[in-house]
């Protein structure tokens, strides 16, 4: 059949709609997940500006009390947390650990990452707030 193509010109090709990512819930969640990277970048830029201003106490404090920047961070936080959760949940797909014939339970792999996230957060928090 693959060598016989008299009907090939009459094949119907369905166009892929530009809004394909809105047509299914899983596609939409995927797109949101990808776009969390924008909020990751936005906060990284904020951190950069903040760190550059470290030798000017007034400018530094002003950046941290600016209502617009606070609002931006409040929006960034759930988006970045969504990045973290979706990222950690996918770690078992990338990190496959074998013990003989059995795979280490994927939930354990993800769980270990969540524990690490909690520990790291606590450490950073305690360093920042002595």
């Amino acid at each position: 059949m693959s060598n016989d193509t008299p009907t090939k010109s009459k094949e119907y090709i369905r166009p892929m709609p530009a809004n394909w990512w809105l047509t299914k819930r899983t596609y939409l969640l995927f797109m949101i997940r990808e776009l969390t990277s924008v909020f990751v970048a936005a906060y990284a830029v904020f951190l950069l500006v903040l760190a550059i201003r470290r030798n000017d106490p007034e400018a530094f404090a002003a950046l941290l009390s600016n209502p617009l920047l606070i609002a931006l961070q409040v929006i960034c936080l759930p988006m970045v947390v969504f990045h973290t959760v979706t990222w950690l949940n996918l770690t078992p797909k990338v990190l496959v650990v074998w013990r003989g014939e059995e795979r280490v339970n994927p939930l354990l792999i993800a769980g270990a990452h969540y524990v690490a996230w909690a520990i790291i957060s606590i450490v950073i928090l305690s360093i920042s707030c002595p």
Partner: protein, 115 residues
């Protein structure tokens, strides 16, 4: 079909994703909630930021997540119909990350380079 150079970009994307996942949420809590709410003083944070280890930490927190964004954003654009090698797209994305990295190196790593 030749083997791709993609591993370079994918490694940066992965490293940035890990750094962003583990370290960014608590950092946002610190700068976006704790300081504005008064539970941590801006001045204390500022002194902490001046420390060389903190500056190194911040450099990692800025540069790698920017490369994470660059790779992911580029491919999200491709998923939305852009061509993968459409001239400006990869340059704009990775270029921005390189720029942020260069700025971070210039201003963060030396002790006194802050503005």
């Amino acid at each position: 079909m030749a083997r791709s150079n993609e591993p370079i970009f994918w490694s940066l994307f992965s490293a940035g994703g890990v750094v962003a996942a583990f370290f960014l949420p608590i950092t946002i809590v610190i700068t976006g909630i704790l300081v504005p709410a008064g539970w941590l003083s801006a001045e204390e944070l500022r002194e902490l930021v001046s420390h060389p280890l903190t500056r190194l930490y911040l450099f990692v927190l800025i540069s790698l997540p920017m490369f994470h964004w660059a790779h992911r954003f580029r491919y999200a654009a491709v998923d939305l119909g852009f061509k993968k090698h459409a001239g400006l797209l990869p340059v704009a994305c990775y270029g921005t990350a390189v720029l942020a990295t260069v700025v971070a190196v210039w201003f963060l790593l030396p002790q006194s380079a802050a503005v």
